[in-house]
């Protein structure tokens, strides 16, 4: 359990208020007309919305993990945070080498890494 305060108040209630405000901001970002902002940035409105949602999702993620899941403020928080971050390396590999590869990557491989041509 939390043995600390946030701005002198109960951390769970403060975290709850914060998460609700951030979620409201998410919903408002979806409903807002971001067309002018997108035009000035030279991109689509959808892309601006996605960036805003991603930026809001990061503190939400941290607030839930740190306060509700007790990865902050407990005796064992440090080692458990390291445990939770352990898959980050594999997640990075999957995002980079699966999620962001080109659709023709498999058929566009150089000869040296095709079956039967192992550079020998």
């Amino acid at each position: 359990m939390a043995h600390y305060k946030i701005m002198g108040q109960d951390p769970y209630w403060m975290n709850f208020y914060g998460l609700m405000i951030l979620t409201l901001m998410e919903v408002l970002a979806v409903g807002a007309d971001l067309g002018p902002a997108a035009n000035s940035l030279g991109t689509e409105e959808k892309v601006v919305t996605l960036w805003i949602l991603t930026i809001i999702a990061i503190p939400k993620f941290i607030m839930i993990a740190a306060i509700f899941m007790h990865l902050y403020g407990d005796e064992d928080s440090g080692i458990l945070t390291m445990t939770a971050l352990f898959p980050a390396f594999f997640i990075l590999i999957m995002i980079l080498f699966v999620g962001l590869t080109h659709p023709n990557a498999a058929s566009g491989l150089p000869d040296w890494c095709r079956p039967g041509n192992y550079g020998l």
């Binding site: 769970y12 979806v30 445990t83 594999f90 995002i95 659709p103």
Partner: protein, 372 residues
């Protein structure tokens, strides 16, 4: 050998928790076998969303039976923590988790594996989303002819984020999960309080766990409405929904994993002209139609990949919510009978970790699958 003697194994497995012996259990292997049988036979029972017959059904239930047996073995071993009313919470003996509850470490390791599951689903989604041209792009390129399906990526958000009414179930679910994360942590707070009347503690824990259960049910109900049911609108709201009286479900819209002839009115040149939206004058399709080299019409799309990535990812998340409901049902009944004390409140904490994780995943699923 006495069953109540903590020094000796119970009929269900090792039983020496008080003295820190390792938990040599067959339960994980039995569970894994059961899950494997269940998933393989379930996958084999369908082909492109079409049911292939009743032949695989008995094996599906065999898989579920093995899962149930594995859970029973696990439960029986863990329930043997408490002998004669005592509560033993075994601690890890070795580095790096020394003196941390073994079950807490196990829950975190389990959540790590869950992270990998959802990462694989997210990376698959990204791969297809960025690798296949969107249906809007294909439509405006004019590289299609009416009557022949083209393969393109149609994000579910095209339907879901099209109006406030369509997005309402997903938005309600977002708030439901955030609130449920708070209610479960409040249940833990009251379960751990020592300077509180037992009856007050029982009522508080039951209310907060019951609220979490209710919010989880609400989540799946909203999911059902969004996927299959849709909902009617009161008459005064029709004008805000293009004059339509209902909000269609994804199923009604034809957004299905076997949709190889998907059609949407926004990919229909006749609809766009008649409704005043018009075609984008900068698009190739507009130029081709002006030049008379494209007759226009209603584009037909094969959206099996996009629909599959959406349903598998959000369905996997929904299955986790369903698993949580089963756990919450048991815990709420236990709480109502006064089953939680400060000594065994950690069970709520460990379940809470799982539930917060489900909430965390939704924090990412909602913007990327519902809004983008």
């Amino acid at each position: 050998m006495s069953y109540d003697d903590p020094h000796h194994p119970s009929p269900w497995g090792p039983h020496d928790w008080k003295h820190g012996s390792p938990h040599n259990s067959w339960a994980p292997f039995i569970l894994s076998m059961g899950v494997a049988i269940f998933l393989f036979t379930l996958a084999g029972a369908f082909k492109w969303g079409e049911f292939q017959g009743w032949g695989k059904i008995p094996l599906i239930f065999v898989g579920l039976g093995v899962v149930g047996f594995g859970l029973l073995v696990w439960w029986r071993q863990d329930i043997s923590f408490g002998v004669n009313g005592e509560v033993f919470e075994p601690k890890s003996a070795g580095a790096p988790f020394q003196n941390i509850d073994i079950r807490k470490v196990a829950m975190w390791v389990f959540l790590m594996s869950e992270m990998m599951v959802f990462t694989s689903l997210f990376s698959t989604y990204m791969r297809y989303r960025f690798g296949i041209a969107s249906c809007q792009t294909v439509f405006e390129s004019g590289e299609w002819v009416e009557g022949a399906a083209v393969t393109c990526f149609e994000p579910a958000s095209h339907l879901i984020a099209s109006s406030w009414f369509h997005i309402a179930p997903g938005a309600i679910n977002t708030f439901a999960l955030i609130i449920s994360s708070f209610t479960i942590v409040q249940a833990l707070r009251y379960a751990k309080m020592r300077d509180i009347d037992e009856d007050v503690r029982r009522k508080k824990i039951t209310r907060y766990l019951g609220s979490t259960w209710f919010l989880a049910i609400l989540f799946l109900t909203m999911k059902m409405i969004e996927w299959f049911l849709g909902f009617p609108l009161p008459e005064f709201l029709h004008e805000f929904n293009h004059g339509d009286s209902t909000i269609n479900s994804l199923y009604t819209e034809g957004y299905l994993i076997n949709a190889d002839h998907y059609q949407h009115h926004e990919y229909d040149t006749h609809y766009l002209e008649s409704n005043g939206h018009g075609l984008d004058h900068d698009s190739d399709l507009y130029a081709m139609m002006e030049a008379g080299s494209h007759p226009g019409g209603h584009m037909m799309a094969n959206i099996q990949v996009s629909a599959t990535t959406f349903y598998v990812t959000t369905g996997t998340h929904g299955a986790h919510v369903f698993g949580g409901i089963i756990g919450l049902s048991y815990m709420t009944l236990k709480a109502a009978r006064g089953g939680y004390t400060p000594d065994n409140a950690v069970s709520i904490e460990y379940f809470g970790l799982y539930w917060h994780f489900v909430d965390l995943v939704w924090v990412l699923v909602f913007p990327f699958f519902y809004l983008y």
